[in-house]
Amino acid sequence: METKNIIIVGVGGQGSLLASKILGHLLMNQGYDVKVSEVHGMSQRGGSVITYVRFGDKVYSPVVDKGEADFIVSFEILETARWLDCLKAGGQIVTNTQQIDPMPVITGAARYPENLVEKMRAQGLKVDAMDCLSLARQAGSQKAVNIVLLGRLSHYFDIPEDAWQESLKANVPPKFLELNKKAFELGKHFIS
């Protein structure tokens, strides 16, 4: 199989490391060669962060370059727009609609662009957008945005539900498993 590429983007501290861990675990257990490239350190302090997940028969590069991503999974809509040039023609966007103002917007040096989802759709891009924060709260914790997104992403994969559940179980602390299962379901069955 040709290598498939996923990028996970968001704001430092939003929980992308766990999302990539669960995905990586899942894909390896499906028999793929997998590479996951993460960001640690400086950018975690509220900066823009990107994680790459690649899988296929044999994966070489750990990073996803411009025009290569089959999926953009995004925790924040401005970040979706920022990393859009990574999307492959025909690629799928799965994004949280939450807006988090970056410091230049807070200080008034820049404006937060409006109607980003509409602009993407107007260009014919495939955008699956939803308010993951509300769904996460509904599941029991605003920290579960990452799992809501994964639930939604699972929609686009031909991988059995059991395998997703197994990977969740293997990677989240037992006391949060039920909450995360719920978040996963809410994301998966969200109707946009």
Partner: protein, 577 residues
């Protein structure tokens, strides 16, 4: 058993399997997780040392005692540890000694982009360079064999993309080789008479290592085409394979010092066009040129920043897709001090007094970005104090009353103490502010000698900063709470005015530490708020303006209350029930 593993964790696994008994490191992105992961094995003694030099010397001591030892650091860490490194090449080791240096091409979290291969060459020490997690594990074990076989420390060079990428590894068993210490003055006491006898041994060892490099399976030629041949290593190898697959020939080097001249000559003779693909400096390329071989490299590839598959494809004249955009003006999202960060209040006070702030490295370096924009210098760890001393010596009264050094607790332990010794000894009228957030924050919360806990989180020795500073002869020492703006302001004013060296300890634990209890988030009373934006001056990510009024994001706010001290209308209220 197959596992998906972070490159740094794979090194830790390699340490475990190689029977390493002692690890001493100082944190630094992208190397930190090696030591954190090693500390999860009960069989390995692990510690955070105050700095890289101490860490490497401690690891050397453990090797001398007869157990395999390890020291890890980021690229600039090896600058600090360079002194013991160079002479260790002379003494050699007892049990195996391996050093990881993690480079950061692209400067994801660093102050420069230096290429550590120069150290291996200059210190005459072998260097291995893995290209993924499986090699990270395998090379770690091999490095110990080389170390003991050739009686030398061995460096493993990582880079951000290998250190922080997960790929599939196969794990094995732990085997612990043991040696005993034997007194050997001629080998270990490097005074001139002995060192003169050791230097020829170093040179002979390098010759033997070249022979090893010619034959080791970690240097391998993948011959597919006679047209293009690429010499490469590390993550660059992965990009080359990504772009070319099996359509070009590749000489993949797992050992980058010393380089194998015969292997390179042989490979060069099999291809028409020879190109070296290496990040940062032209180290391999220059070596190939020194063999009299025609080679390309930095004529088509940059010496700046990290590579990617598209960059390599473009350099070879291949087309790449540009990708779509919907918005030209995407505001940047630089890292910021977290909501509730104790550094914020202190920096606000320094800004208000219009101080000249010579800074250092840590989370507090973010005091240089808008809207605080207070820090005017960041060079290397510890430099704030040395630079302030020199600055004040030259400018005297013009600067003494308004210049401060700011330095974190971990950075002060790392290399600030010696700077303060200079202030105390040579008596500059300098004011030093130690930003004591009770943790090494920037690199992701590592303990240090001032926190009272060791790497495993167990109670440990605790250095009292006030006592330490006083013992150095600094008489004016005071502690402030950075959440209290009035207190900060008074301390800064008075210590700057004093006619002798002084130290202010700004003390409050990092807001992200698990044990720190937060107050409920604040909210703005829209009736009272006049939209004056006074609260926006501190650059808190939890505060923004909505419809002309300040608004607090309750998901971020930790109730520190610094903003409310700035509000002229007392519009901030607690949401406490």
């Amino acid at each position: 058993m197959k596992q998906l593993m972070l490159g740094n964790k794979a090194i830790a696994r390699g340490l475990y399997e190689a029977g390493v008994c002692f690890v001493s490191s100082y944190p630094g992105t992208p190397s930190t997780e090696i030591t954190e992961e090693a500390a999860k094995f009960d069989e390995i003694y692990c510690e955070w040392a105050p700095n890289e030099k101490v860490a490497l010397e401690s690891a050397f001591g453990a090797s001398l005692a007869g157990r395999r030892a390890f020291c890890g650091q980021k690229h600039v860490g090896l600058n600090v540890a360079a002194d013991p490194l160079f002479t260790m090449a002379y003494t050699g080791v007892n049990a195996g000694l391996v050093i990881v240096v993690a480079d950061d091409a692209g400067m994801h979290s660093s102050q420069n982009e230096q290429d550590s291969r120069h150290y291996a060459i200059a210190a005459k020490v072998p260097m291995l360079e893995p290209s993924d997690s499986a090699e990270a594990l395998e090379f770690t074990k091999l490095a110990y064999e080389i170390s003991e076989l050739f009686d030398t420390p061995v460096i493993i060079k990582m880079c951000t993309r290998v250190a922080h990428s997960q790929s599939v590894v196969e794990i094995g068993e732990r085997v612990v080789p043991e040696k005993s210490y034997e007194k050997d003055i001629a080998k270990y006491v490097m005074m001139p008479g002995n060192a003169k006898k050791r230097h020829p041994i170093v040179e002979a060892r390098m010759k033997n290592l070249i022979e090893y490099a010619e034959k080791t399976p970690i240097n391998r030629a993948e011959i597919f085409s006679g047209e293009i041949g690429i010499i490469t290593s590390s993550t660059s190898y992965q990009y080359v394979k990504e772009v070319f697959g099996d359509s070009v020939s590749v000489l993949k080097l797992g050992m980058v010092n010393p380089l194998p001249p015969e292997l390179i000559k042989d490979f060069a003779s099999k291809v028409k066009r020879l190109v070296v693909v290496e990040e940062l400096d032209a180290v391999i390329e220059n070596f190939v040129k020194s063999l009299g071989i025609k080679v390309e490299g930095k004529n088509i590839l940059p010496v700046i920043d990290e590579f990617s598959q598209n960059l390599i494809a473009k350099s070879f004249g291949k087309e790449v897709t540009a990708g779509v955009t919907v918005e030209d003006k995407i505001p940047a999202r630089p890292p910021v001090m977290c909501a509730g960060c104790p550094h914020r209040g202190l920096f606000y006070s320094l800004k208000k007094r219009n101080c000249t702030v010579l800074g250092d490295i840590g989370c507090y370096t973010l005091g240089a970005v808008p809207p605080l924009s207070t820090i005017e210098l960041t060079l290397c760890m510890g430099a704030s104090i040395g630079a302030t001393h020199g600055f004040n010596k030259i400018l005297g009264e013009k600067s003494e009353g308004k210049t401060v050094a700011v330095i974190g607790d971990s950075t002060f332990m790392h290399s600030g103490m010696t700077g303060l010794a200079n202030v105390a000894y040579n008596q500059s009228n300098s004011t030093v502010i130690i930003l004591d957030n009770s943790i090494t924050g920037m690199t992701g919360h590592q303990q240090n000698p001032t926190t009272g806990f060791n790497i495993k989180g167990d109670p440990a020795g605790k250095i009292n900063l006030e006592e330490l500073v006083k013992a150095m002869g600094i008489k004016r020492v005071r502690v402030v709470d950075p959440y209290n703006l009035k207190e900060c302001d008074a301390a800064i004013k008075e210590e700057l005015a004093a006619a002798e060296p002084s130290v202010i300890i700004s003390r409050r634990p990092c807001a992200l530490l698990k044990y720190v209890k937060h107050k409920p988030p604040l909210a703005v009373d829209a009736e009272k708020c006049i939209g004056c934006k006074s609260c926006m001056k501190i650059g808190c990510p939890a505060i923004s303006m909505k419809d002309g009024k300040a608004f607090v994001d309750a998901t971020q706010c930790v109730g520190c209350g610094v903003c409310s001290q700035l509000c002229p209308k007392k519009a901030f209220m607690s949401t406490e029930a």
